[in-house]
Symmetry: C2
């Protein structure tokens, strides 16, 4: 396992090492987080967006894309909230094996599944074809700067060298603190304590949306720290996010997340650092904002 300064450094180093090893085309979920694409471009990799379906990535589109590496948020897709089905997982691994390609599994949100047991990582199914990335940024704090990569054997040595050249190593203080936290069982206790709190926040958010702005239909499974909704045809991201911001509510559009072509309009809600009453008040204000936009 390679310790790195969060997913940001880990994914950057991995894309640099892959580019140096001859990889050329990175497939990313469409829509997905936009920051990685800039990192891929800086590393010399072309990015191509592959539609996310309800059961995960469209593997047929991936086949056609000519990509030799794909990044997936299989446990809880960002931003759509989709979970990659067992069938899609198999198809992805089959694709990677046949093409001698690599799957980067960004497991950023796996600790928080609320309605059932979280699904296991793909890494365990094909350790030679999957580079697994975990992080403490979502479960503890992004300021901790702790992420980890579990890598296919052939990538261990080049990645260890890349990390050493990059910054010699991650903070030993952070690593020892986290290791102690895990060893004493406190990390598990923390997750068990936080799951019902986040679940309640999510249920409150979804309930408030259903009650006050029912045409913002949430999609995705009960997991993680964000919810996405599509927008009805008479509303635009630009108008709604602006009117919400004027009322002090931070809600975000999907525009930056589309890779190939802008898809339908939608909103992303984060509840990782708010309280229940703030959610209730926020959706009141959002309903007011949407009413104002519609006037």
């Amino acid at each position: 396992m390679l310790i790195c300064n969060g997913f940001a450094q880990g994914s950057r180093l991995l894309l640099q090492v892959l580019a140096a090893a001859g990889y050329r085309r990175l497939a990313v979920e469409d829509p997905s987080d936009d920051e990685l694409r800039a990192v891929a471009a800086a590393a010399g990799l072309e990015s191509v967006g592959i539609p996310v379906l309800e059961a995960g990535l469209d593997v047929e589109a991936l086949e056609r894309s000519g990509a030799d590496v794909v990044l997936v948020t299989a446990a809880h897709q960002f931003p759509t909230g989709a979970v990659t089905s067992a069938q899609t997982r198999s198809a992805l691994i089959e694709w990677a094996t046949r093409r001698e390609a690599l799957i980067i599994e960004d497991d950023y949100d796996a600790e928080y599944r609320y309605d059932r047991e979280p699904i296991g990582a793909m890494q365990g199914l094909a350790p030679d074809r999957v580079a697994y990335a975990g992080t403490a940024s979502k479960t503890l704090a992004p300021g901790l700067r702790l992420g980890w990569l579990i890598l296919p054997e052939r990538l261990v040595e080049p990645m260890a060298t890349a990390k050493f050249v990059d910054d010699r190593g991650s903070s030993v203080l952070d690593q020892l603190t986290f290791a102690d936290f895990v060893a004493r069982g406190e990390f598990d206790r923390h997750l068990r304590r936080m799951r019902p709190r986040y679940r309640l926040l999510r249920d409150t958010l979804v309930g408030q949306l259903a009650e006050k702005v029912p045409d913002l239909r949430p999609v995705g499974v009960s997991a993680g720290l964000h919810v996405m909704t599509w927008l009805p045809p008479d509303l635009t991201e630009r108008d709604v996010t602006r009117a919400a911001r004027e009322r002090g509510v931070g809600v975000y559009g999907l525009r930056p997340y589309w890779v190939q072509n802008a898809g339908p309009e939608g909103l992303v809600f984060g509840y990782g650092s708010v309280t229940g009453p703030a959610v209730v008040e926020g959706i009141d204000l959002l309903a007011d904002a949407i009413a104002a936009v519609r006037k």
Copy 2:
């Protein structure tokens, strides 16, 4: 001030930003630490070695080199232990101003000067021409991964962006811990406690060398955590370091530090993490090793 993961990350980001801004040729002290040259090459900068004289860098050779950025360890040169004189400092700043060049001041060892007050940083003399780099790796622990850069105004924004893209930021835990340590005066107390200990270790080392292997003449000022000596003509780095290693003594040759042409042979001794008795025993063993080589 930009906080980074030690000098390793700070200098890498700085060289990348400079290369992107059009800088082409990095002058380094000859001899000097070899790791930076590989980083410069990866960033697309050419490296050129400039001889280190007793008063610091040979500024006339720097003039001729066509470099547009120079890295100096002005307070205590590694490995020669030279201190850059006031006259050389002025000449360097004059050079940088005239050529619109940049001086990177790697002040890694400034906290430990034993025979007099340490000389001030060049950065204070020409803040627009000097990028200053400090680190807690030598004074506290390299595992802390804390370094800092004080940058000319024009480099602040690109460097902040580069740091964010690189890994989002340095460990907040490390930063807060160090800030508290400094604010409570403990860092100053630590330095005041360590200075006489390191001075005693250095005096012991130099005294033992004079007594037991007097033809290894130490050079450089009374400062820092290392001492360099030249080797007499009948000894080679290779033979001496190998014979020492066979006796369990780690002493290092200059070969990796020469940039342009290998200069005279010499040895580097580090005393940053040894005890006084270990120094005495180590020089006994070194004398034995040299006697064996000469047999």
